[in-house]
């Protein structure tokens, strides 16, 4: 039989021990709860900001133009490095130099960042060496699989991951991923468990689909590069627009830059197609002639006396490249007569000329979704001199952007509607939810469909019989206008006799336009005429573009 005392004594001690534990638990868990919980939280909780990936930029067919991939920036904790020479050798394999001077100067430092970024595979291979004292901070690096292609449209991203230029800037709020904080707990061995399972990829920035077609962009890049080098021009650009929707299909400028490493070429970051203004010269005659036809000031068959090449207005001689006498309005456009256009402009009058310049979208931003767009310059009619009407009529004393010019030509191509040019087609989340869809947006009607059709015929004549003959494309009807504009010399404030801008803006197929193409060469050396410099570039770009887009030929001799 078990004695009650023999049972009671150990039972008493066990009960007493339990009581001590309970009291201790009471003190720890309740009495000093806040203080101890705070100390524990500091020791085990890790609350850190998590960078989510920036969205992709895709071309109109979903081909990647830029995307972000994770990269790792290594750092060294000198106090934990076991074998410094081995660490130096390991990093040298990835072209990363270990700053020995900093380590020697600060031996107690716990964090010495290294200058360089590596990918996940390189990071794993370094980790597997188990050298000790090596760590990595994560970041995202923008990758451009197509290199410089479309750099002026894509733009660049700064070190802080925000867009600085191009679509990267305008769509920055969509492209930037959500800023989140990840809470995790560490155990005694430093292992982590995240508090809540968050799929960071689901929070990454939205994908932006552009209206740009990668292949058309490549064609434009190749041709603008060749033209820029051949002409030894200061700048050059080729823009392709869909005149029916206003979408920009390609926009290539020279000089260009590498968006992944733009520090060395900051001057080229500016997008000349939207930011640079220049006097358009004869391409502007489209506005004067359209206004004159619309207001029935002249008809295409009316005859204009072109003064045999020199016409003096307010003691200022206006000259024609080709000396002409009595020619029709149609021929005025064909031979690009400044005198004929000046006389038509004077018939039209100051107010109506000004009204139509505005109607075609000049002097106002087109609304293109690229940053830094200029409005253009045109003085208020109240400040115009007696010479203004005639010379503005053929594109002097007015400054416009390349996008304004192509947009005005597209309005003639589509039957008289001025559309808002666009480079962003749509924006979708990673899960595919549509956030924004930029459809066709009509700004206003510029001219009636009948006048637009008449203007198209005149533009076709320019290419068939006039100054734009080198713009022809076999098998296709082409309409367009050349423009050889003298540049203003900033030193003398007079028109330069050495610096010119050669441009050509055309539509193809002209009778059922599918593409508007603008070519510009700023300060071409040697031959500076648009007819021989810009028109052939149009021809090359257009012939490749129509074949790529499988636009059927509309003239008999097509191949």
């Amino acid at each position: 039989m078990i004695s009650r005392t023999r049972v009671a004594v150990p039972f008493f001690f066990i009960a007493a021990a339990f009581c001590v534990i309970v009291v201790r638990l009471f003190i720890v868990q309740l009495w000093h709860h806040e203080e101890i919980a705070g100390r524990v939280a500091v020791a085990i909780r890790r609350d850190r900001p998590e960078t989510t990936s920036r969205g992709k930029i895709l071309d109109r067919l979903g081909r990647t133009l830029t995307e972000s991939v994770k990269s790792y920036v290594p750092f060294i904790d000198p106090s934990k490095v076991k074998d410094l020479p081995a660490v130096i050798v390991a990093f040298r394999r990835f072209s990363i130099t270990v700053p020995l001077d900093i380590i020697v100067r600060n031996p107690r430092s716990l964090f010495v960042p290294l200058d360089g970024e590596i990918d996940a595979a390189a990071m794993q291979s370094l980790k597997s060496l188990e050298l000790g004292g090596i760590g990595f901070t994560e970041s995202f690096r923008r990758q451009y699989p197509e290199g410089r292609l479309g750099c002026h449209v894509l733009g660049v991203v700064g070190r802080d991951g925000s867009g600085l230029e191009g679509v990267e800037f305008t769509a920055n709020s969509y492209l930037s991923g959500e800023k989140i904080r990840l809470l995790s707990y560490r155990d005694g061995r430093g292992r982590e468990i995240t508090d809540k399972l968050v799929d960071v990829d689901q929070l990454s920035g939205a994908n932006v689909t552009l209206s740009i077609d990668r292949n058309l962009q490549f064609i434009a890049e190749q041709e603008v590069d060749k033209a820029w080098k051949d002409a030894r021009a200061k700048n050059a650009m080729v823009i392709i627009q869909d005149p029916l929707t206003g979408e920009i299909l390609a926009l290539a400028c020279r000089p260009d830059y590498n968006p992944a490493d733009f520090d060395a070429s900051r001057a080229a970051l500016r997008n000349p197609a939207v930011s640079d203004m220049l006097e358009p010269g004869s391409t502007f005659k489209l506005v004067t002639l359209s206004a004159a036809l619309e207001k029935k000031v002249v008809s295409r068959t009316d005859m204009i006396w072109c003064e045999n090449g020199v016409y003096t207005v307010k003691n200022h001689p206006i000259r024609d490249h080709e000396k002409k006498g009595l020619i029709s309005v149609n021929e005025v456009m064909n031979v690009s007569s400044n005198i004929g256009t000046a006389k038509i402009g004077m018939k039209l009058g100051k107010d109506q000329l000004y009204q139509y310049i505005r109607q075609f979208g000049f002097t106002a931003k087109t609304g293109i979704d690229l940053p830094g767009e200029a409005k253009g310059i045109l003085q208020d009619p109240g400040q115009w001199s007696g010479l203004s009407v005639p010379i503005i009529s053929f594109g002097q004393e007015v400054a416009v952007t390349a996008v304004q010019v192509i947009n005005a030509y597209s309005s003639i191509a589509n039957g008289g509607l001025l559309l808002e040019p666009k480079v962003v087609k749509e924006i979708r989340t990673v899960q595919g939810r549509l956030l924004s869809n930029t459809g066709k947006r009509i700004i206003r009607r510029t001219v009636t469909p009948a006048v637009a059709a008449a203007m198209k015929e005149m533009l076709i004549d320019v290419v068939e019989k006039g100054t734009g003959q080198l713009a022809k494309v076999a098998g296709y009807s082409v309409g367009g206008k050349t423009g050889t504009a003298q540049k203003r010399d900033p030193r003398t404030n007079m028109y330069s006799t050495t610096n010119y801008v050669a441009s050509f803006c055309g539509i193809i197929p002209a009778r059922d336009p599918k593409l508007t193409i603008f070519v510009l060469l700023d300060e071409p050396q040697g031959d500076y005429y648009a007819a021989s410099r810009a028109a052939p570039v149009f021809s090359r770009v257009a012939s490749r573009a129509v074949r790529y887009l499988q636009i059927p030929p509309d003239q008999g001799n097509g191949s």
Binding site: A120, A121, R148, V200
Partner: protein, 85 residues
């Protein structure tokens, strides 16, 4: 009477042991989930990097450069057949 107390004590101990075991398993599972998540992230990242590499390798600019290096010449426009995706 004492036997009854002992039974209760053992049962209480079993409940406590079960609770501790369940908590330990939960923490262990947390580690497994986190490890798998990191592994998954790594594979996804690796997949993304490989896709970027593919895009770089088939980029038009690179193909053009390779063609030039191999001294290939541009064909006449009427001999070009455009392939669509």
């Amino acid at each position: 009477m004492t036997y009854k107390y002992l039974v209760w004590l053992v049962m209480a101990a079993l409940v406590v042991v079960f609770y501790v075991w369940e908590q330990t398993q939960s923490v262990r599972l947390g580690y497994v989930v986190d490890t798998q998540r990191r592994e998954c992230e790594r594979w996804e990242q690796s997949n993304k990097e490989l896709r970027v590499k593919i895009n770089c390798l088939i980029s038009l600019d690179r193909l053009d450069r390779v063609a030039k290096d191999k001294q290939l010449i541009n064909p006449p426009q009427d001999r070009v057949i455009y392939l669509h995706d």
